[in-house]
Amino acid sequence: MKHMSSPSPTAWLRRLRTAFAASAQLLAPRAEACLICGKPQAGPRSAASPNDPKLPAGLRDQACGACLSAIPWISRIQCPKCGRAVRCEDCARSPHRAFVCNRSAVRYDPTMRALLAQYKYRGNEQLAPLLGDMLLPPFEALTASLHESAPAARRGKRQKLRIADRWDAVTYVPVSRERALDRGFNQAEQLAAHLARRYGIPLMHLLVRARHTEKQSFKTRAERIKDTRQLFAVDRAEVARLHSLRQDASKTSDLSREACRILLVDDIYTTGSTAEACSLTLGRHIDFSHEIYVLTWARS
């Protein structure tokens, strides 16, 4: 128990920030109208909102009961690799991926498609916290499933505060400069930032999208595969920052894990090729032991 009483100053700071984020959320104003259907919401925490304790409180404040109960959560995972709710032949065919596994919050059904379109294409950025909150259940489940050699005493009540200790960085799939100029924001970055802020995990801008000018359709298959591999590059300064953070952490903290644990966030997981390309790029440029987990909002 000695290490419990004297954690490193940075860890303390992190915990403090997490605690602050959590209490700030309690004080945050409740949306007047449901952000999904736009209908005015009944009184505070009304009986209409399902009192599902598994739903993050922020979600219940932003959307109405009817909309919340229409969310197709992926609660039972059939494919341990890609987090699909049905048995997955893709993963059976190519079981070796550059990332450990993917977890998604919801199935990409027409309702979720419309919701994402509102946010991503219409640009209704006030949906970002809502979508971000939807990532919390799968993220906490993923974190809980990590095989950590933590003493049993640390579990239980304080588990939420400990989530930050199990991750070294949150990063995201980048968009091209043209896309950023056009859309004004990167949805994956906003989702990642939401998680990072919520748990006090460092947000790292590890990846950049390398410019590619020619259209995919003009290329041969081999060229295309090569091209996808070169779609992403790393930000060397950020990788260096991750390295030094990691070294600081292993010097001072009580963590027993070997590998640097990175969470890669994106909005949709379809074939996994984007997540794979990002993970490969990271793998080529990070020269210390690391493992990459993928968290996506929807699994199509």
């Binding site: 219409r122 640009g123 209704n124 950023a180 100029l181 859309r183 004004g184 924001f185």
Partner: protein, 659 residues
């Protein structure tokens, strides 16, 4: 997006402008000739300096505005001439304007914790920046060049390119006339218009059109009187959300109120095309009497249309900021409103203007479309609604939902708002803003309704609002007066699975006389169960239900009209715009909260619309008679009385009612 600012010296005075493609401005000011298009600027500049720093669009536009406020400058502005002095004076003033624009942008937000933090950061940055900037300006010409570069006369574009650019600008200006479009929409419009410059780069084309004074470029959300507003939908701070924006690199506000039609934000370009207005006057037109006769209207229709027509044509010319001239046409259900607007539309077309017919309901737009095309076979008609394929077309006559009006500005010389008291137009400030914005200066606006909102009725009665009343249907029979039936609530009927005897008898009688039955209920959820109950009780298989959430609605209305469906259970969604010959109307829960006087009058107006069966029946069924029901009955009786007094009803020997 980002933009740049520059100062240009003409006639000894400096003016400042914002640009989204400075190469075009350089050519325009320093040379003025555009290849095959010839000389576009007869008064080239003596000197010009481009501010090197790229600015968020809103800040660039605001900088030019600040300059205008402080020094005047544009040739057509109130204070001609602009700033006197050398380029150092001009750049110092420009630096001050840029700074002010930035400061305004930073302090414009709500002063929450984040606002204060932003403001503090801004001050700190400014303190650092000010020192550096003023030093640089005070120093020699070499330092000036760090902030700004002087434009030379040489350009990078070939004559052929310049000619294409000029042709594209003319095309863009013509296509944009009277519209207000976001950048993406403007590009889609111009891509559709084709022609030169269709290589995907429209910035230069639009910038040249702006230099020529044919379009205006600005941020879609911008500071106005009383804080920031969305310039497209008119919403204020309450509808604005601020987020970090990768396109302009700052915290920038977007509008959530009109986001369904594309995102309007501070650094998003709003392109507004200027509309020249009507050329011809009313003097050359044939006499009113003669024109009205061509449309074969009933006496009541002729009288009202004539009054409206004289009002619309009253003004010989329109000043630049002339107010909208409203006229209320208060015509009972089935009066033949559409026929009455034909002479008005014709008048505007004859004078070379553009006419707009807008209504809140998409169903009504789609139903109007063939009638307008038939009445004006030689005019180009464009029909607009969400998902319409004619989105970017230009027509003499535009038929539109009120939502689509957000995409217009000052574009129409005659605006007709049909069913103005219908949802969602009634009570929606955004749609009212849009209906104001789309009117050209001094345009006439005709407001059409069978049940005008109370404030309009009052304005009409007191003489503040010019109006004409049509108290009779085109077939000259009186409106059916509703009968009140005391019945249990719908919920109770559904629960007991039984209809009250009186209602059942009336419905059976309607079916026996071969009428179609409209049955109105309050709630969407009640429509299907009520249809099932009626099917069982009336032993009539052709019963259906529809509502706003029914995708087969238009199909069911068709089948109802074709008499494949005999009984249609529905909600207020069908209260207006639907004409079914030989129909009787049953309004259940008529004492319910959702049915007000206007709604009851409209639903009652579904009965007796054809001259073959002018005496349809209307029943208000409910547990009690409330004020709305009594008022609706009185409304209908008053209209009938006025019609009789004015002699519009058919005499009894021609099949008129003896009452």
């Amino acid at each position: 997006m980002k933009a740049m600012v520059y100062v240009v010296k003409r006639n000894g005075g400096w003016q400042a402008r914002a640009t989204i493609d400075h190469e075009v401005d350089r050519r325009f000011w320093m040379d003025g000739s555009f290849g095959g298009a010839g000389m576009l600027n007869e008064h080239p500049a003596e000197s010009a300096w481009l501010w090197r720093e790229e600015l968020p669009l809103g800040i660039a536009c605001r900088t030019a505005e600040r300059w205008e406020e402080r020094c005047g400058g544009h040739a057509d502005g109130p204070r001609m001439g602009g700033l006197k002095g050398d380029e150092r004076d001009a750049l110092r003033m420009l630096a001050a304007c840029v700074d002010e624009a930035k400061r305004e942008a930073e302090s414009g937000g709500k002063t929450g914790a984040a606002g204060w933090r932003r403001m503090l950061a801004g001050w700190r940055r400014r303190l650092a920046g000010w020192a550096g900037r003023s030093e640089a300006i005070e120093a020699s010409g070499v330092s000036l060049e760090r902030l700004a570069e002087q434009w030379g006369r040489e350009g990078a574009m070939s004559d052929a390119e310049l000619g294409r650019l000029a042709a594209g600008a003319k095309l863009a200006a013509d296509a944009m006339r009277g519209r207000a479009l976001l950048r993406g929409e403007a590009h889609a419009l111009l891509d559709g218009a084709g022609g030169p410059g269709a290589d995907g780069s429209w910035s230069g084309t639009l910038q040249l059109a702006a230099l020529l004074g044919r379009v205006r470029l600005s941020g879609a959300v911008a500071a106005g009187s009383g804080g920031r507003r969305c310039k497209r939908c008119g919403s204020g701070e309450a509808a604005l959300r601020r987020t970090a924006c990768a396109a302009c690199g700052r915290i920038c506000a977007y509008c959530i109120a009109c986001i369904g039609m594309g995102r309007s934000r501070e650094c998003e370009l709003l392109v507004t095309g200027l509309h020249d207005g009507m050329k011809g006057g009313a003097a050359q037109l044939p006499p009113v009497r003669q024109r009205l006769d061509g449309w074969k209207l009933s006496p009541a229709q002729t009288a009202a249309a004539g009054k409206a027509l004289r009002y619309v044509e009253a003004r010989p010319h329109a000043a630049a900021h002339a107010p909208i001239r409203n006229f209320l046409l208060w015509a009972v259900t089935g009066a033949g409103k559409t026929e009455m607007i034909f002479p008005l539309v014709e008048s505007v077309l004859l004078r070379g203007g553009r006419a707009l017919i807008a209504t809140p309901r998409r169903d009504v737009v789609i139903e109007l479309d063939p009638r307008i095309r038939k009445a004006f076979p030689d005019a180009s008609v464009v029909t607009l609604y969400g998902g319409s394929e004619q989105r970017w077309e230009i027509g003499d006559i535009t038929l539109s939902t009120t939502h689509q009006l957000l995409r217009f500005q000052g574009g129409f010389d005659l605006v007709i708002i049909d069913e103005l008291d219908a949802f969602p137009y009634h009570g929606d400030p955004i749609l009212h803003y849009a209906a104001d914005k789309c009117c050209a200066p001094g345009a006439a606006r005709l407001l059409l309704s069978a049940t005008p909102p109370r404030e309009l009725q009052r304005a009409a009665r007191s003489g503040r609002l010019p109006h004409a009343r049509v108290p009779v249907r085109y077939h000259r029979h009186p409106l059916p007066v509703p009968k009140l039936l005391s019945t249990p609530a719908v919920a109770q009927m559904l629960q007991k699975r039984r209809l009250p005897a009186k209602l059942l008898a009336a419905m059976r009688h309607s079916l026996q006389r071969d009428a179609q039955l409209f049955v109105f209920v309050q709630k969407i959820a009640q429509s299907e169960p009520m249809a099932a109950l009626l099917q069982a009780t009336l032993r009539q298989s052709a019963v259906a239900a529809t509502s706003s959430q029914d995708e087969e609605r238009s199909d069911k209305v068709q089948r109802f009209r074709a008499r494949d469906i005999r009984v249609l259970v529905t909600t207020t969604i069908l209260e207006r715009g639907v004409t079914i010959p030989r129909s009787d109307v049953y309004i259940l829960d008529a004492d319910g909260r959702l049915f007000d006087e206007a709604s009851l009058v409209q639903m009652a107006g579904r009965a007796g619309r054809s001259s073959d069966d002018p005496f349809g029946r209307v029943y208000f069924c409910g547990r009690e008679r409330n004020r709305a029901q009594v008022a609706a009955v009185r409304h209908i009786q008053t209209m009938n009385r006025i019609a009789r007094k004015q002699g519009y009803l058919l005499p009894a020997d021609q099949g008129g009612s003896a009452r």
